[in-house]
């Protein structure tokens, strides 16, 4: 008689021409990883060589559950496939579990046959093209409905949700002041430092003020604010509206005959369109103060001197050139935020995807629009 230990779960032995596979241990779902290893390393091919009866003796199994029974079925199946006559001995306890487990078996439906690579590539190009077309139509219809509702609100002002508008104005405007202040102050300091170090080589350090004044008022203030707000409020709009779509809250509004445009989108978009110019104005002032602090500290320029130099350098036009862009940027951030939010599908993953998209797209569009404004102003000679 030879006995070879395969693993603690299965022992193989030969007894009077009969082959016996003795099973023991806990055949439970938690041990499936080890059970599978013992099954994989079991020399099924050796069984074939010997004549006689094959016995699977499962009476020594201490514990079994439905998950573990799957491994047992697997073993029995593999042995049966060898074409040997098999005798299985087991306790009622094991048998009950095995029967229950085998009562519920099924196979996954076969995945449909894949077409060749070039066809799939071609198909994907076509699909993407159609998607781009649909996206454009979608944006256009969203924009159309937005402006229709906007006009309707002007005709019937009681349709406008003032409460919601002011609530959002508070959240995206007032509550954003600390972060905008901090970042603007720091950028003012950084720009002033760069200006001073470069211009002092020509003894023209006082012109740092001109650089700051024009740079901040025309570009930096508004661009900086927009980017901060896109990250702060644009993403929040997408996540809020996206969750409402997921929970079917938007559908609930629709079946009440209420338009999500009135309740969700108009207040948000208008609030941010109003808030962004105000924040940009604030950012301009704070960044200029940051510059003044740096000038005062490094160059001993007094604040009066700074003010006089600044007023000589800038014109109202410089201020308005920056400021006129702000409502457009605010509109873009909130519109993209709401649009992406409405596109969320019923999975948590898609909330993440669309929130990311919302921030990236709005910053991208802001910069494109900024470049467009620059070209326009150059053309107009401002």
């Amino acid at each position: 008689m030879t006995v070879s230990k395969i693993a603690s779960f299965m022992t193989y032995s030969e007894l009077n021409k009969n082959q016996v596979i003795r099973l023991q241990g806990s055949w439970i779902v938690r041990n499936l990883a080890v059970l599978k290893d013992s099954l994989d390393s079991f020399p099924f091919h050796k069984l074939k060589d010997l004549p006689g009866c094959l016995v699977i003796d499962a009476r020594k199994i201490d514990d079994i559950d439905m998950g573990g029974s799957v491994a047992l079925s697997d073993l029995i199946q593999q042995v049966k496939e060898l074409g040997l006559s098999v005798k299985i001995e087991m306790s009622d306890y094991v048998k009950e579990h095995l029967t229950l487990s085998e009562k519920f078996v099924g196979n996954l439906p076969e995945k449909s046959i894949q077409s060749p690579l070039y066809l799939r590539k071609l198909e994907s190009i076509g699909q993407q093209t159609i998607e781009i077309k649909n996206l454009n139509l979608h944006i256009l219809s969203f924009l159309g409905e937005f402006f229709t509702r906007l006009v309707q609100v002007f005709i019937v002002p009681k349709n406008f949700r003032f409460r919601s508008f002011f609530k959002h104005l508070d959240v995206v405007g007032l509550k954003a002041i600390p972060i905008v202040t901090l970042i603007s102050l720091l950028i003012g300091i950084v720009l002033a430092y760069q200006g001073i170090t470069q211009l002092s080589r020509f003894g023209a350090q006082i012109y740092t003020v001109n650089l700051l004044g024009l740079g901040i008022l025309r570009e930096v203030g508004v661009l900086l604010t927009s980017i901060v707000i896109a990250g702060r409020s644009g993403s929040a709009f997408t996540a809020e509206i996206g969750m409402m779509v997921m929970n079917e809250e938007v559908n609930a509004l629709k079946v009440m005959g209420l338009s999500p445009f009135y309740l969700l989108i108009l207040p948000r978009v208008l609030a941010l369109t109003v808030a962004l110019p105000l924040l940009a104005f604030w950012s301009d002032i704070i960044a200029l103060i940051g510059g003044a602090i740096m000038m005062n500290w490094l160059m001993d320029t007094s604040f009066v001197q700074y003010k006089n130099q600044l007023l000589g350098a800038i014109t109202p036009t410089a201020f308005w050139v920056g400021m006129v862009k702000a409502p457009f940027f605010g509109f873009i951030i909130s519109f993209v935020g709401c649009f992406e939010g409405m596109k969320v599908k019923a999975t948590s993953e898609s909330v993440g995807i669309h929130t990311t998209k919302s921030v990236v797209e709005s910053i991208f569009l802001i910069i494109v629009l900024d470049a467009f404004f620059s070209i326009l102003f150059a053309y107009l000679g401002i």
Binding site: V29, H97, L100, F104, P109
Partner: protein, 258 residues
Amino acid sequence: MEKPVIVIKDLVNKFGNQLVHDHIDLTIESGEVLGIVGSSGSGKSVLVRSILGLQAFKSGSVSLLGHDLNKLDYKENKKILQKVGVLFQSGALFSSLTVLENIQVPLKEQVEVPEPYLTQIALQKMIMAGLPIDAAHKLPSQLSGGMIKRAALARALALDPEILFLDEPTSGLDPIAARSFDALVRQLQRTLKLTVVMVTHDLESLYLTCDRVAVLLRKKIMVGPLREIVEVKDPWVQEYFSQLHTRLKMKKMYKERK
């Protein structure tokens, strides 16, 4: 006699000024099916969440399989929770995963079941819960309300738990499906010696599956075998259990309907 699997002593739950549970005690024995009933908002779900350590309670103690979940470290906690399956009232399926993947989560993450058993077991539980195979690759958002319940049940059963918590398992199922669900619970309880804690509003389900019933009433709890509970002289309890209509009674009611 085996040790009880759940022991609740002197539990108090309070939200702000609202008292939900007022010093309640409950012991759940191994291998029994306990039904929890009570009016809406009486704190059934809160009780289940307290047992599972999902909710900090005001005072008292809860032990699950001999341990207080709030006092265990991560590893021990995980070990205990491997023996527990939960069907949440709203399903709580992972929305970005398909049904099959949802059922595979506990198998993969809690005990590292290898393929092909991973798929086989997930399918086994799906079929057991009464889902058609072609639902395997659907997302939860593409399922009907009843299918969500079944998928959640399949996920709760994935690890062959010792204790199964079911929060309104038959709500949203048609009567035939609800009865086959009851039969399944009984079968599992008999074969696998499961302990089942079932919150339900379904009286038939209560009659067909439960060994004992716990009634949450006026912030307190009453526990006993069903035949004792139905005899309790309390207007709410009397009215509650009189809602079970036999088929004959229903036919009569239908005829008399105006």
